[in-house]
């Protein structure tokens, strides 16, 4: 009886610890990074669709966010982070880590190339976004699993 109570306490304490550090877990970090990329993409799409006026600073900042994020994004998939925290990462990532990294690098370099010749108007942003979207899709096609 006593032992069981002790074990329960230990388990609860364990849960508490997990909760405190949850934001640092790789699953949470990479989810945050993807959200950041999503927000940057959204800013570009707003301009591409004409919902927001063209603003060179926003275009530059958004592209920079995507390009910079991709430099480290694949580092947040260490062994042991395959499951948990509602991760949508496919097990195929760990089977084909090199290809996964190459896909992230491609989005990074494609975005850097757009940055080097910054789109000057709405149409230019639209065209750039088309290429970026393709990179997103080509990775998500294989390496992301929707669970709901």
């Amino acid at each position: 009886m006593k032992i069981r109570a002790l074990m329960l306490a230990a388990a609860l304490a364990g849960l508490g610890v997990t909760a405190v550090t949850a934001a640092d877990e790789p699953q949470a970090v990479r989810q945050q990074l993807m959200k950041k990329v999503g927000a940057a993409t959204g800013a570009l799409a707003g301009i591409a669709k004409g919902e927001k006026p063209y603003d060179a600073e926003i275009v530059k900042a958004s592209l920079t966010t995507i390009s910079e994020t991709m430099k480290t994004f694949p580092d947040h998939f260490p062994a042991g982070s395959e499951t948990g925290m509602e991760t949508e990462a496919s097990p195929k990532i760990w089977e084909n880590m090199d290809d996964f990294k190459a896909k992230a690098a491609k989005l990074g370099s494609d975005t850097a190339a757009v940055l080097a010749q910054l789109p000057a108007d709405q149409a230019g942003v639209g065209a750039a976004l088309g290429g970026i979207g393709k990179d997103c899709g080509s990775c998500h096609e294989t390496y992301r699993l929707k669970k709901n």
């Binding site: 993807m34 999503g38 927000a39 669709k49 088309g130 998500h140 096609e141 929707k146 709901n148």
Partner: protein, 304 residues
């Protein structure tokens, strides 16, 4: 005694023959009468190309690994995993021997809408003729005209890998008897031309339900669960619910759906993934009006 047994046996054999005959008659391959495919005139190739993208032919039949125009080489071969075994999409390029270049419009049309092969055999419903059955003869004629303009490929796709009893084509007649129907999947207001068009595209050529609707043990749709989402036949994850009751896309507006089909971006600027990546590439080639029709229909089906 011996006589009685013999009588019983011959009685059973007789019943078996009658029953088997009735089964055969009820479930034999049933192409359309020849007149169905006559008098359609010259195909409208521009419409044929639109039907081609709506039908998503390349997603299964394109030579695996191709990009851009290489996707138009319909040499087949891609594996399609299912609980019944693994299917391999055949070569449907206009090559006369490896592909379907020597087929007539009627042969093509009966494969598309009746699931009947060129030799009068039942085709497996992994080829979504249970959706294509809703397609108009005009669209089939236009599509056939367009497909004949595509490059020829001489590759021969591997055969299907199906265990017993799924390797028996005869049994597919029973499947068709149970599940092959051209009645509407969902009741929508077809007086609204946009909804009617959306229904045609989603339930017919677009064959969205083939992945988004759960199936029963015999591989037929669970009729009350139209587009309510289903296990991923490839094994991992789920194919999402796309009715207005969906947790993932129920909150999207019709224009959110249309813009997703065009750009591949969700309203939260997540991107398309999984096998939908291929589908979205096809949907991006449709007219804006057709994408809007699809979206209107998806907002009008029962919320599940």
């Amino acid at each position: 005694m011996g006589r009685r047994i013999r009588k019983l046996v011959s009685g059973l054999v007789f019943l078996g023959l009658v029953g088997g005959g009735a089964f055969w008659w009820l479930t034999k391959p049933a192409p359309w009468p020849a007149a169905h495919w006559e008098g359609l005139g010259e195909p409208d190739l521009a419409n044929g190309e639109q039907v081609f993208w709506a039908g998503g032919c390349v997603s299964c039949h394109a030579k695996p690994g191709g990009e851009g125009d290489a996707r138009l080489v319909l040499s087949g071969g891609a594996p399609l995993k299912s609980p019944f075994g693994t299917f391999h999409a055949p070569n449907i390029s206009p090559d006369e021997t490896a592909g379907i270049g020597a087929w007539t419009l009627a042969e093509f049309g009966n494969a598309m809408t009746r699931g009947v092969g060129r030799n009068g055999e039942h085709l497996y419903p992994s080829f979504p003729y249970a959706s294509y059955v809703r397609m108009t003869p005009k669209d089939i004629n236009d599509l056939w005209g367009y497909m004949k303009t595509l490059p020829k490929a001489s590759d021969v796709a591997p055969g299907h890998e199906l265990p017993f009893p799924y390797n028996l084509r005869l049994a597919l007649g029973g499947w068709k008897l149970l599940f092959l129907t051209d009645t509407p999947r969902a009741a929508v207001d077809t007086a609204d031309a946009k909804l009617a068009r959306g229904q045609y595209l989603v339930e017919g050529p677009g064959h969205c339900g083939e992945c988004h609707t759960p199936r029963n043990a015999l591989g037929g749709f669970e009729a009350s669960q139209w587009l309510a989402g289903a296990p991923n036949p490839e094994g991992e994850g789920r194919i999402p619910n796309i009715t207005p009751g969906s947790k993932s896309i129920g909150g999207w507006s019709a224009s959110d759906i249309a813009s997703y089909l065009e750009s591949g971006f969700t309203p939260e600027f997540d991107s398309v993934g999984g096998s939908m990546v291929e589908v979205q590439k096809n949907m991006a080639k449709l007219s804006a009006a057709d994408r809007e029709a699809i979206s209107a229909y998806l907002k009008a089906v029962p919320a599940l």
